[in-house]
Amino acid sequence: MNTLPLSLALLAALAIAPAFAATPIDETRALDPRGSIDVSNLKGRIQVRAWDKPEVRITGSLGDGVERLQIEGDRRNLEVKVRYPRGSNRAEPTTLILDVPQLAELEIDGVAVDIDVQGMAGDSLDIESVSGDIVAVGAPRQADIGSVSGSLRLNLNSHKVDLESVSGNIALRGRISGEIAAETVSGDIRIDTRGEPARRLDTSSVSGNASYVGGLAAGGRITVESVSGDIRLTLPKSLSAQVHGESFSGGLSAPGAHIDKPRYGPGASFEHTYGSGDGEVRMETFSGRAELVLE
């Protein structure tokens, strides 16, 4: 049997095989220290590390089947986007590793992308993913982070934080001096501001549990709502606030508060003033348990 044509065919296949392997990335662009950068990827991983250079360096690897890495813009606004062939759903994951000026405004959009951001301290940090997990550590002035099924693990020192997930859990630690908003459907919410008094806290969930450990600024407001999830607020013993709790069929608990239950029908509520009643705390559930703890 003549094996030469087969050998030639195999050699030809090996020659073109590298074209289908993951393509390494090594790009650098200038970016002002307070410039803005948008990064988007459909599938894979995005990792961002802050540095003190006025430029963005992009490394990593493009997955098989990806059309190209598109980098557009100027030193004020950069856009880094992984482009896929139209209608293609077979591309392999792409890993983007970026070094970005620490004070830049960063926006990341992903679908099935795990996202890891460390050290950013610019004016804003905006991250959205669908199914990837998100980890962020830094001090952006404002953070807006959301996922659908991925979890959020955050350690932020910020003024305003807005978090959202459907089934992923949200875990936030850090000193938040202004407003915190967190919303889930079935994911749990755990917030610990390490004693920092929040000016405003709003959390809402359907079946997820919510817990907050922290303070309440003078004149501040906390509103925590859940349908069937449990709520636990741990506030300082020096709390000065009017506290209102309400539940249709869940339990209520607050130090020193008298729980009112109507003679007819379900429902329970309480109103209690702690200290001089400076702030306002509202806990409301349908069937979940709501508990206030003072420590």
Binding site: V130, V166, V185, S204, E225, V227, F286
Partner: protein, 177 residues
């Protein structure tokens, strides 16, 4: 990211008044003796329509406000180029007669969002996050069940609105991915 949470604040006085709706108030005195005393002396007259209960203005106003917000949100989220779609509709029940205002609003809201969903191409079941669509549908049903039991709970209606909006936005996002 949209944040309608901060738009939900009803005046404290309104919230207090809504709470009192679920407080039972039995008559201050026994009423039947007075009624029985008047019955034989009244001539049998043509049947008169039962006096209409005075509609509760404040819940209707708050419900109207939320409905206006819901309809406005639905209009804002309408797609620019509608295409035939097969997105599974959110469960909507026909409002029974004399349904509580918030339940009526919830039904109307659900119909609006179902209409908007029908304009969006159905995402592939293999799309990342597709399971979350099912989870959102299940949570909407849970909230509506809760609202049926606690029809004065404004926060449940607000939660339902957020779920509908999230469901619609996620459907469009996954359909275009």
């Amino acid at each position: 990211m949209n944040d309608p949470r901060h738009d939900h604040d009803l005046p404290a006085a309104l919230r207090m008044q809504l709470r009192t709706l679920r407080t039972p108030e039995p008559p201050a005195r026994e009423l039947w003796p007075d009624i029985a005393a008047r019955l034989p002396s009244q001539p049998r007259a043509a049947a008169e329509p039962a006096p209409r209960r005075r509609p509760r203005l404040l819940p209707a106003l708050s419900a109207a406000a939320v409905l206006a917000l819901a309809l406005g949100l639905g209009w804002q989220l309408r797609p620019s180029s509608p295409e035939p779609a097969q997105a599974p509709p959110l469960a909507a029940r026909p409002a029974p007669a004399r349904a509580a205002p918030l339940v009526v609003v919830a039904d109307a809201m659900t119909r609006e969002y179902n209409g908007a969903l029908r304009e969006v191409p159905a995402p592939r079941p293999t799309a990342p996050g597709y399971r979350s669509l099912l989870e959102l549908d299940a949570s909407a049903a849970a909230v509506r069940d809760a609202l049926a039991q606690d029809p004065d709970a404004v926060f449940l209606l607000q939660r339902l609105q957020h779920i509908h909006a999230r469901r619609l936005a996620l459907t469009r996002q996954l359909a275009s991915a």
